[in-house]
Symmetry: C2
Subunit: 538 residues, 2 copies
């Protein structure tokens, strides 16, 4: 977790992330730019999204670290060239020399800090440099920002829904969109506010807390007590071995639970023998309240007699609010009846959870301490793609615009600096885009902020604080500081805390204002008029 | 595309696919099984799904090749063990020796053929072998089957929606769930019925046709004709160089198009200079019908004069049905007016296409030849996860059942052989699960097929053909034949062709019957009664 990563930490984090992981049209364009003598024209591209995901009004920016790792290894190998030659045998010989020599030494990347709260139309990344190279970064950058930002945002929304004190674990590996979809989901769910993952590889790679106990198959693999290869368990504080099976059976009798599945009891005993200090049992294989919980309590009471404290249960089906309350009741009853400290045993819940279910559970009242969330989190079921785009906004100093009949698709032209302006309560009030050559907004000085397209929407602000949103993160080489995942996670949490609560609330959140200066407004609208023919009705 | 792959082709296809790409609870279970002396118990696991995706009644099985590659490299390295030791310092020393020695030499994998049409509850894969190893395959197998099967099914649905003659290209890299989400999407979209991909790395890796031309940024990077570094283009059949810019401008005058964007014209000229034999232009940067199409036609007429045939256009916004018809009209008009063969120029359409839009375009009438489909295809927006599960069905010869209040979640116990029974028209009528020790169904012999859970649903069939759905694909080592991607794609197409059309139709498709023998029905229901307590109302 060091502040400054070493250069040699700059390994590609993903075996697929090479300069060939791109749309083929990037290469056909590269050739056409080269052929047309335009490769070294100076281009500026903005990477932005147009609409927040999940019906919300905010987005967490993530994926920058992976973009920079990619920029660092950018380039085409002899193998790449021989593959491309086979596809494009008609390309001129000299082009291959050009391609082999390409690198990012003349590229500058400006970006928001990873973990930042971002809003539509405000570029999260700005790339400047030779058209031939800057263009080639498009698809890979988009691929490396879209899903990480989406998952981080989804995780942040789940965190807000669960409340700050609950433990959240990502359980999505088996349902993710491929192995790397899973790896990304673990990493960026953590960044967005999760505490842990079930994914062993992701946990180890990213230094994320790992969580997990056993599956239903462990329980159903036991048919009866005869399958236990030993009846014994050693006491916590001595070498004495006790007949643990006998002890568990006695506790079950005391609990007066007559309808428990014996295979399940055997499985719990075997699990407790392996993990006497970490006994957490999945209790819904046969019947949660009639079988799973009494079996769990019997084994827990037996563990208690040997000096061990059980951890808790996991519920994976049924009415989680009701079951968790019933389980808590039983824990409290048993604590009283047997004088054991079982009141606060952990209740973990899983089974197709999502943001809405978390809100619903809160409304109903529940006793769950920890949630394991898989499919909905990692595949972002509610909206499985973020629509980031990478648009040319300037070439050789001339601003460029992408026009569209659809106003949300019109890009804001020119090289721009984004600022976040803070109001009296030290809360962000709006983001302001300023043309690069123009003066920055100044604390305490009143400035007119205009909606980029709607001429009716204008507002004056005298900012209490002015925060430039972009810093230079690549200038032909990496520009420190680089932030660790942990630092990005903390930054994300602090950013979400700073935002006005009505922007992040569940229902009808208030859109955050994104504005341009008067100068940029005029400039944008003039350019639009000049580039686009007025439609004519025949 | 050889029938039999070589052993050394068995490299892991994905850098993340190692035995550490699993849920941590698989390892905690492994230890508990080992500690309980159960590691070598003989287990049978079924991999199946319970519900077809996308509201349909069929699913394409995919991902088997990657599962087998994983089985081939399965095992834990010294590094893995040292990482695990750090997580579980209390595990016994001898366990690490056990873990280091684990391999799949005693594992058998039975599976459907990759590309098969599969139905709920019928295992696509059956794994048999030592409990310790078979359990460890769970998460990775699910990760390697869920998304491939989902994407292949999604692609098959898009193919059916588009009709058999249209070209379908996968354009999803930038919006996919991570780099490998994209790589998987390209591969399995091809398997499910797509023709091509834009993803350069995926196309080269999988030998899939690549498609792509240029982006809006290429067009908007040109402001005027002065940016063209040469006015010349060589004739197709001689070395004579002609003033191509002049020629294009003259053609534009002949077309009487007065409202064209000059930067766009310059970009098209530059693109045609680079690709005189492959000129396909994106025509919606400024205005499709007023600017893009006339500019395209001017450059196309000029190319025609030099002996080149243009390819076509791409539409990326607006009303695609209308615009494609208008474009086709203009192509036909120009063909007549200028005596050029432009009637059948290709019209490619992209922009947020999905299955529903394809049906809608068909309903409206359109002139599109080729579709580029991205986000909805590769992220499976309509349902981004398939719910495959991996369930223990037998241990040491004893059948196991996973019970649930929710009937669709109950698993069918025991080691089972699945068969597909064909009726008179040589069409599949139902899939039948038979206990492994029981006789196979026989052609022409009447057999009773029962719904596994609903005692009312029974049917007699005298099959015209009996197809065993499982073959042994891993028996401690790979069992040939292994099928290439191309073969899987062809098999998928032939399977879809064989299925009765009402099972795959768009609206209210008929559910396909999945049945069990009378013997298995009785066996299943007896086991259920014996394992599960009857709930008691207090």
């Amino acid at each position: 977790m060091s502040e400054h990563k070493e250069k040699d930490d700059y390994l590609p984090s993903n075996c697929f992330v090479t300069s060939m992981l791109t749309d083929m049209y990037q290469l056909t364009m590269t050739y056409a730019y080269w052929k047309g003598g335009r490769s070294d024209d100076v281009a500026v591209f903005d990477l932005l999204f147009r609409k927040n995901p999940f019906g919300g009004e905010y987005t967490i920016f993530a994926g920058l670290d992976e973009c920079l790792r990619y920029v660092n290894v950018f380039g085409f190998s002899d193998t790449d060239v021989s593959n491309l030659r086979a596809l494009f045998p008609e390309w001129e010989e000299k082009f291959w020399d050009y391609l082999l020599a390409l690198d990012t030494s003349k590229i500058k990347v400006y970006a928001m800090r990873e973990g930042a709260v971002a809003f539509p139309k405000v570029p999260m990344i700005r790339v400047e440099g030779p058209l031939g190279v800057a263009q080639l970064l498009e698809t890979t950058f988009l691929c490396l920002v879209n899903f990480p930002s989406l998952v981080a945002t989804n995780a942040a929304r789940h965190r807000i829904a669960a409340g700050p004190t609950k433990k959240l674990s990502e359980f999505g590996l088996r349902r993710a969109q491929g192995p790397d979809g899973a790896m990304s989901a673990s990493r960026y769910a953590y960044l967005g506010g999760f505490d842990a993952t079930s994914n062993l590889a992701a946990g180890i790679k990213n230094d994320i807390l790992l969580r997990g106990t056993h599956a239903h198959s462990f329980v159903s693999s036991y048919i009866g007590l005869h399958e236990l290869n030993t009846k014994l368990l050693r006491r916590a504080n001595s070498d004495e071995e006790v007949d643990f099976v006998d002890l568990c059976q006695n506790q079950l009798k005391l609990l007066k639970a007559s309808r428990c599945n014996t295979g399940e009891l055997a499985a719990f005993i075997a699990y407790a023998q392996a993990y006497p200090k970490g006994f957490l049992a999945l209790v819904d294989t046969y019947d949660t309240l009639s079988s799973g919980v009494p079996n769990f309590l019997a084994v827990s009471l037996a563990l208690n007699k040997l000096g061990y404290q059980p951890v808790g249960i996991r519920l994976d089906s049924g009415d989680l609010a009701y079951l968790s309350r019933e389980c808590r009741k039983q824990f409290i009853q048993v604590s009283k009846a047997f004088s054991v400290p079982f009141e606060k045993l952990t209740i973990v819940a899983s089974n197709d959870l999502n943001e809405e279910v978390l809100y619903s559970l809160r409304d109903q009242g529940h006793e769950i301490d920890s949630f394991g969330i898989g499919t909905h989190l990692v595949t972002c079921q509610r909206q499985p793609a973020l629509g980031c785009v990478y648009k040319l906004v300037e070439i050789n100093g001339s601003p460029r615009i992408k026009v569209s009949q659809d106003i949300v698709k019109v890009t804001i032209p020119g090289r721009k600096k984004p600022f976040r302006l803070y109001g009296r309560a030290n809360q962000p009030v709006l983001d302001l885009l300023v043309l690069a050559g123009s003066p920055d907004p100044v604390v305490g000085e009143r400035i007119l902020c205009r909606h980029p397209f709607d001429s009716q929407k204008r507002v004056y602000i005298s900012p209490q604080r002015v925060e430039p949103l972009h810093t230079l993160v690549w200038d032909g080489k990496s520009v420190p500081p680089l932030y660790s995942l942990q630092q990005c996670k903390e930054y994300c949490a602090s950013q979400l805390k700073a935002v006005r609560s009505d922007h992040i609330r569940r229902l009808n959140p208030t859109p955050y204002k994104v504005s341009v200066t008067l100068e940029l407004f005029t400039f944008l609208n003039d350019l639009w008029q000049s580039e686009v023919p007025i439609p004519e009705i025949d």
